[in-house]
């Protein structure tokens, strides 16, 4: 590139043309170093989870899936997973419904409700989970709701609400309001309209919001730790196991399997998002 100005004649949209070749190389080096930093501990953990010995260290005593089969045959673990799946499903439904109502108001509402809905839906994002957990624990004890999976469901719905809203907002703002108007002109009532004209194009985003809320809840331990009581969610059980050296290898196998599960869900979200994006571009 001869001069600075000649290099600008690109697509004019990305920052691609604001950096020199050397600059790009430096940025690339930082990027890939960060990727290495992200992935190497996970790879190390995965390899050590295949170790046949009790102590996770190198060199491995042998390769085998014994800790995985131990984890799969652990009934306490499966009951904790069951509790977590129930909590994640219910809390994700609650979070997605309230997020959807808020997102419509933020995008299409008039007057104060826009700001009020945004504050109500996003503010849990700027509160540490421990404060949410502790304040809800006090609140639930005060109103007589014992520590239970139900309490965690409410806690997780609170915690996931901002994330679900942030995922829905861009999709809702790209919806074409004329679909609604057309349906209205054709005489559809509000309730029917929302099912036939408004919501279907937003469905990919709604499913993504649900799955992200589900994943967040399935992984959440800080709030659950305060609200679960004598039961165990999968993460509170896992945390307890990780603290015992003799249970550590099995806990590693459990967490690798949970990570695989989360990755599958994320992959689904990603595919849905891409399809949704393609559909909205094609309109």
């Amino acid at each position: 590139m001869a001069t600075a100005t000649s290099s600008w004649d690109g697509d004019g949209m990305s920052l691609e043309y604001t950096v020199t070749k050397g600059g790009k190389r430096t940025l690339g080096a930082i990027f890939w170093a960060v990727i290495l930093f992200f992935y190497s501990p996970l790879i190390v953990l995965f390899i050590l989870s295949l170790n046949t010995g009790y102590v996770p260290r190198l060199p491995l005593e042998g390769l085998g899936l014994q800790w995985y089969s131990a984890a799969l045959n652990n009934e306490t673990l499966w009951s904790a997973v069951g509790v977590s799946l129930r909590i994640a499903t219910v809390s994700a439904i609650i979070a997605t419904v309230f997020a959807l109502l808020a997102a419509f108001a933020i995008v299409r509402g008039k007057g104060a409700i826009r700001i009020i809905a945004a504050i109500a839906a996003i503010s849990p994002l700027v509160m540490p989970a421990i404060v949410i957990g502790v304040s809800q624990l006090l609140f639930f004890v005060w109103i007589g709701l014992p520590r239970s999976p139900v309490a965690v469901m409410i806690g997780h719905a609170t915690f996931s609400l901002p994330y679900a809203t942030l995922i829905l907002l861009p999709a809702i703002s790209q919806l074409n309001p004329r679909c609604d108007e057309a349906a209205k002109d054709l005489g559809a009532r509000a309730f029917v309209r929302s099912y036939t004209a408004t919501l279907p194009p937003a469905l990919p985003a709604i499913v993504s919001a649900f799955l992200i809320a589900f994943t967040l809840s399935f992984d959440e331990v800080a709030i659950a730790g305060f609200l679960i009581g004598s039961d165990n969610t999968f993460p509170t059980y896992l945390l307890a196991q990780m603290r015992l050296p003799q249970r550590l290898p099995e806990a590693m196998a459990m967490s690798v399997m949970a990570a695989a599960f989360s990755l599958i869900l994320f992959n689904v979200v990603d595919r849905i998002q891409q399809k949704g994006g393609a559909a909205s571009h094609g309109r």
Binding site: V44, P56, L101, G109, V134, A222
Partner: protein, 296 residues
């Protein structure tokens, strides 16, 4: 066209969300603050209205622990933001399709369980862990001597928190950078600015909200963190959140724990107010006319 385009009836259904949020988020926070002042009694034997809990807190070692935790949180948030910026810039400088693929590469570790990511470092740093056994196999360290220095301190906690939260910091910075109007950068360069000047006068200010969001997204959860120190902090790496968690659990001193939690809540609110104020005041200050500047 003034037709109402909302698909719903006159009263916005979003009030349901507002009600939900007030009930399960706002009200519990108010209750927490009231309980810390003894204005509400929840358990048998809770003290009456008094400032004694707060006075005790400001005279206790917990204030010092809070300051140490605050340093860890600020340091973690700053380091995450500093590393996230070039990563996000690299993404923003890629063709769209490649950027999307690389973004997923960044986000994947964040999707795996938080406990898994903490555990992976515990396994690496622990006594007789990966680093120690690797060093031992190279003859750099005695095989039977634990490498105590690596785990159970603030260093381990900070590394792990940076590791756990860095992916999240990339998102908002990338979002704001991809909104940057490249024509403005172009204009700056056409008027004789070099690339760095163009960056500092155009790109960095436009991405400031993204930087602030990244900082907040890391600072807030880290400021109340108590799970990672359980696994890798040990006695020398406890954070303020651990005291709150212990007092609500084994310690069972709820009224004093409420003071600590309320203090955490107030400190987060104050920091957010400072950042919001900075985001509001700095652009105003920047818009002052510069001597010699030619205005069109």
């Amino acid at each position: 066209m003034t037709a109402r385009i909302s698909p719903f009836s006159k009263i916005s259904p979003a009030w349901a969300t507002v009600l939900f949020s007030c009930l399960v988020f706002g009200l519990p926070l108010l209750l927490l603050a009231a309980y810390s002042l003894g204005l509400v009694q929840i358990l048998n034997g809770d003290p009456g209205p008094s400032l004694a809990g707060w006075q005790e807190f400001f005279a206790s070692p917990y204030l010092g622990l809070y300051m140490r935790s605050l340093r860890v949180a600020l340091f973690t948030a700053i380091v995450c933001t500093l590393f996230a910026y070039p990563v996000a810039y690299y993404l923003a400088a890629q063709p769209e399709e490649r950027a999307q693929k690389l973004l997923i590469l960044i986000l994947l570790p964040f999707v795996t369980s938080f406990l898994l990511r903490v555990l992976s470092w515990r396994v690496i740093l622990s006594d007789f862990g990966v680093i120690q056994s690797f060093a031992a196999s190279l003859g750099l360290w005695p095989a039977d001597e634990p490498m105590m220095a690596l785990l159970y301190n603030y260093f381990a906690v900070t590394i792990i928190l940076v590791y756990a939260w860095l992916p999240l910091a990339v998102l908002p910075i990338y979002a704001s950078l991809s909104l940057t109007d490249v024509r403005l950068v172009e204009a700056a360069v056409d008027h004789g600015a070099n690339r760095w000047t163009a960056f500092f006068t155009v790109t960095l200010p436009t991405s400031a909200p993204g930087v602030a969001a990244a900082f907040i997204l890391v600072f807030v959860p880290v400021n109340g963190e108590y799970v990672a120190p359980i696994l890798v902090g040990g006695a020398n790496g406890v954070l303020f959140g651990n005291s709150v968690a212990n007092m609500f659990g084994e310690g069972f001193d709820w009224s004093f724990a409420a003071v600590l939690a309320s203090f955490l809540f107030l400190s987060v609110i104050s920091l957010l107010a400072i950042i919001a104020f900075a985001l509001w005041i700095v652009p105003k200050w920047r818009q002052r006319p510069v001597p010699g500047m030619v205005t069109a």
